[in-house]
C-alpha cells in the first residue's frame, strides 16, 4: 500500500518537475535556432520556428508536451533533427546504464571494504591511509582525474584505449574515472556507519559474549552500519545511470550524460525535458528500492 502510494505520488511530481523545467528552459535567453549564421531570409527563420511549434504561446506548447508525454513520446529533438528524443534515449540509455552499473559495482567494491577496514583500524595507520584515499577521491575533480588516467594508462603505457566505446577494454578507464569518486563517498559513509554501530548496546552485548572485535563487527554490526550507504546508493545510482558529462565527453562515450548538458547548452528543449523526466522517474524508483532494502536490513522499519 505504502509503495503504491509512493508510485502514485510520481504523477504529480512529474507534472510539477516538468512544469518547472519547462518554465526555466523558456526563461533562459537564447533559443535552439540562434546560430552563427542566420538563414537567407527572416521567412525561413519563421518557418523553422513554426515547424517545431516554437511560435505558439508557451502554455500551448506545454499542453502539447503533456499530451505527447501521455503517449510516452517526448517529441523530436531540436538539435538532432532526424532523431526523436525517444531515439536518443534508446541509443544512449543502455550505454550510460552499463557504464553506470559497472562504476556502481566498482564504487561499492572499493568503498565498502575500505570503509570497513578504516573503521576497524580506527586511529591507526591503516585508518589514516584509507581515509586519505577516500577523501582524495572525493576532492579530485573528475575533469582532472580522467585526462590523467588517459595520459598515463592509455597514451603512455598503452594498457587501454584512449577513448570510444565498444568493448570491455574501452570501458575500463571511464569506469575508473567515474567509480573512484563514488568509492570515496561510499567508504566515508561505511566507515561512519560502522563507527556509529560500534557504540551501540547490542554490540556491547556481543562483545561481552567473548567474541573477537572483528567478528563482532562483521557478524552483528555490518547490517545496520550499511544503512547510510544504502540510502546514499539510491541517488548515486540514479546519477550514475544517467551518465556523467565530463567522463562521457573526455572518453567520447555515446551516453546520456553528455547529451544532458549539451542538450541544455544547445537549448534542445525537448531533449532536456525528456532526460529530466527520465531522471526523476529513476530517482523515485531507486529511492523506493532504498526504502525496500531498509525493511530488509532493519525489520523495525515499517511503512504503512
Amino acid at each position: 500500500m505504502y509503495f503504491l502510494k509512493r508510485i502514485l505520488w510520481l504523477i504529480p511530481l512529474l507534472l510539477v518537475v516538468s512544469g518547472v523545467c519547462f518554465a526555466l528552459l523558456r526563461l533562459t535567453p537564447g533559443s535552439p535556432f540562434d546560430r552563427e549564421r542566420r538563414p537567407a531570409s527572416p521567412e525561413i527563420e519563421r518557418q523553422i520556428a513554426a515547424k517545431y511549434h516554437l511560435d505558439e504561446p508557451v502554455w500551448k506548447q506545454y499542453g502539447r508536451f503533456l499530451r505527447d508525454l501521455l503517449r510516452g513520446d517526448f517529441g523530436p529533438s531540436l538539435k538532432y533533427r532526424n532523431h526523436t528524443v525517444n531515439d536518443l534515449i534508446r541509443q544512449g540509455l543502455p550505454v550510460s546504464m552499463s557504464l553506470g552499473a559497472l562504476a556502481f559495482c566498482l564504487a561499492l567494491g572499493i568503498g565498502l571494504p575500505v570503509g570497513c577496514y578504516t573503521a576497524l583500524r580506527r586511529g591507526r595507520w591503516g585508518d589514516y591511509v584509507g581515509s586519505l584515499y577516500a577523501l582524495l577521491m572525493v576532492c579530485v575533480p573528475v575533469f582532472v582525474l580522467a585526462p590523467l588516467l588517459v595520459m598515463f594508462l592509455a597514451v603512455r603505457w598503452h594498457w587501454f584505449p584512449v577513448a570510444l566505446w565498444g568493448s570491455v577494454r574501452h570501458a575500463v578507464l571511464p569506469v575508473l574515472a567515474l567509480g573512484l569518486f563514488y568509492s570515496g563517498r561510499v567508504a566515508r559513509l561505511m566507515r561512519e556507519g560502522l563507527l556509529n554501530t560500534m557504540h551501540a548496546e547490542f554490540i556491547k552485548t556481543a562483545r561481552a559474549k567473548g567474541l573477537s572485535e572483528t567478528a563482532v563487527l562483521l557478524r552483528h554490526g555490518l547490517r545496520p552500519a550499511l544503512l547510510p550507504v544504502v540510502s546514499y546508493a539510491g541517488p548515486m545510482l540514479a546519477d550514475l545511470l544517467t551518465g556523467s558529462f565530463v567522463v562521457e565527453t573526455i572518453f567520447q562515450i555515446p551516453g546520456l550524460g553528455a547529451a544532458f548538458l549539451n542538450g541544455f547548452l544547445n537549448r534542445d528543449y525537448s531533449l532536456v525535458l525528456g532526460l529530466v523526466m527520465l531522471y526523476a522517474v529513476l530517482l523515485v524508483f531507486l529511492n523506493l528500492a532504498v526504502d525496500f532494502i531498509y525493511t530488509l536490513l532493519d525489520p523495525r522499519v515499517k511503512y504503512e
Binding site: 518537475v17 535567453p29 575533480p141 529530466v276
Partner: protein, 308 residues
C-alpha cells in the same frame, strides 16, 4: 553564539570547542586554511606582477622571476593563484551563505509549523531533488544573469559583466545546495519542537518568532555549522566544474577552477606545461581536503551523526 543557553556551566558551544581542539588533523587543517587565506590576501600587493599583467614570457617554467611559472599570456601563476584563492573561497563562502539562509529558513519554518505547511514545503524540496543540480545551477545562471546586468547597469556600475557573473554564481551554487540543509534542519527542529522547554515557552504565551530565535535556532546551530563546512567544498568543486565548462567566473578574473581548467588543457601526449596543472590542482585538492577535515572535526566535536 550559544550564550543564549547560559544556564549550564559549560555551554554546548564551549564543550564542542574543547573537543575540537583535541582533533589534531582538524586543527592543522584550520591552520592550513588560515595560511592560504592569509597568503592570498597579503602576497598580491607585494608581488612584482599584477594578476592581469601580460608579458612576453609565455609558458615560462618556474624560476626565480616567476616562482610558479607563467601561463599562455605570460601572466604570473602565483599571483593568479592568490587571486584565484580569493575568488574561489569567496564563491564558496558566499554560496554557503545563500545555502545557509535558504536551508535554515526553509527547514525551520517547515519543521516548526508542521502539518500542511511542512508537507508542501518538503514536497517542493523533493521536486528540486529531481532536477540534476548542475543543470539547475546553469539554468539559474542563464536566467538570472541578464537581470543582474540590468540592475548593475542601472546603478552605473563600471564592472558589470564580472560582478554580475559573480553574484549569479553565488546565488546559483547556493540555491542548488540548500536542499540537504533544509532537510536536516527540519528534522532537528521537528524533534526540538516537542521538547519540554519549548512547550513551556509556548504555554507562557511566547510568539513563534521568539521561540524560533530563542530556543530553536541556538540548538540547531551546531548541525548547521557542520553541514555548512561540508557544503563549502562541494560548492568550490561545483564552481571549478562550471569553469571547466567555460561559464564560471568572468575572464580575466581567475578562480582555482578556471586555472585548473587551463591546466587540464595541457594534458596531451606531445608537450605538458606541468606547472599549470600541478600547482592549481594541488592547491585546490589540499584546500578541499582541509575543508573536509575541518568539517569532520566540527562534527565530532558537536557529536552529530551524519544523516542521509
Amino acid at each position: 553564539m550559544s550564550e543564549g543557553q547560559g544556564t549550564t556551566p559549560l555551554s554546548p558551544g564551549r564543550r564542542a570547542w574543547r573537543r575540537f581542539r583535541q582533533h589534531r588533523i582538524a586543527v592543522a587543517s584550520a591552520w592550513f586554511l588560515l595560511c592560504v587565506i592569509g597568503f592570498a590576501v597579503v602576497y598580491p600587493p607585494l608581488a612584482r606582477y599584477g594578476p592581469n599583467e601580460l608579458s612576453a614570457a609565455q609558458f615560462a617554467p618556474p624560476s626565480a622571476a616567476h616562482w610558479l611559472g607563467t601561463d599562455v599570456h605570460g601572466r604570473d601563476l602565483l599571483v593568479r593563484l592568490c587571486h584565484g584563492a580569493r575568488i574561489s573561497l569567496l564563491v564558496g563562502v558566499a554560496g554557503a551563505g545563500v545555502c545557509l539562509v535558504m536551508g535554515v529558513v526553509w527547514g525551520a519554518v517547515a519543521g516548526y509549523w508542521g502539518g500542511r505547511v511542512d508537507s508542501v514545503m518538503m514536497r517542493a524540496v523533493d521536486v528540486l531533488y529531481c532536477v540534476p543540480s548542475i543543470i539547475l545551477a546553469i539554468v539559474l545562471m542563464a536566467v538570472l544573469e541578464p537581470v543582474f546586468r540590468r540592475w548593475l547597469d542601472a546603478w552605473h556600475c563600471t564592472k558589470t559583466p564580472a560582478l554580475a557573473r559573480l553574484g549569479v554564481l553565488f546565488l546559483a551554487l547556493g540555491a542548488v545546495s540548500w536542499l540537504t540543509m533544509a532537510r536536516v534542519v527540519r528534522g532537528q527542529v521537528l524533534s526540538l519542537r516537542s521538547r519540554a522547554f519549548v512547550d513551556a515557552s509556548r504555554v507562557l504565551g511566547a510568539s513563534p518568532v521568539w521561540i524560533l530565535r530563542r530556543h530553536i535556532v541556538p540548538n540547531v546551530l551546531g548541525v548547521v555549522i557542520v553541514y555548512l563546512t561540508l557544503a563549502l567544498p562541494g560548492i568550490v568543486l561545483a564552481e571549478s566544474f562550471l569553469s571547466f565548462l567555460g561559464i564560471g567566473v568572468q575572464m580575466p578574473l581567475a578562480s582555482w577552477g578556471s586555472l585548473l581548467a587551463e591546466g587540464t588543457e595541457q594534458i596531451n601526449p606531445i608537450r605538458i606545461y606541468w606547472w599549470l596543472l600541478v600547482y592549481p590542482g594541488g592547491l585546490l585538492v589540499a584546500t578541499l581536503l582541509a575543508l573536509n577535515f575541518l568539517g569532520d572535526g566540527l562534527r565530532d566535536a558537536w557529536d552529530i551523526r551524519r544523516d542521509s
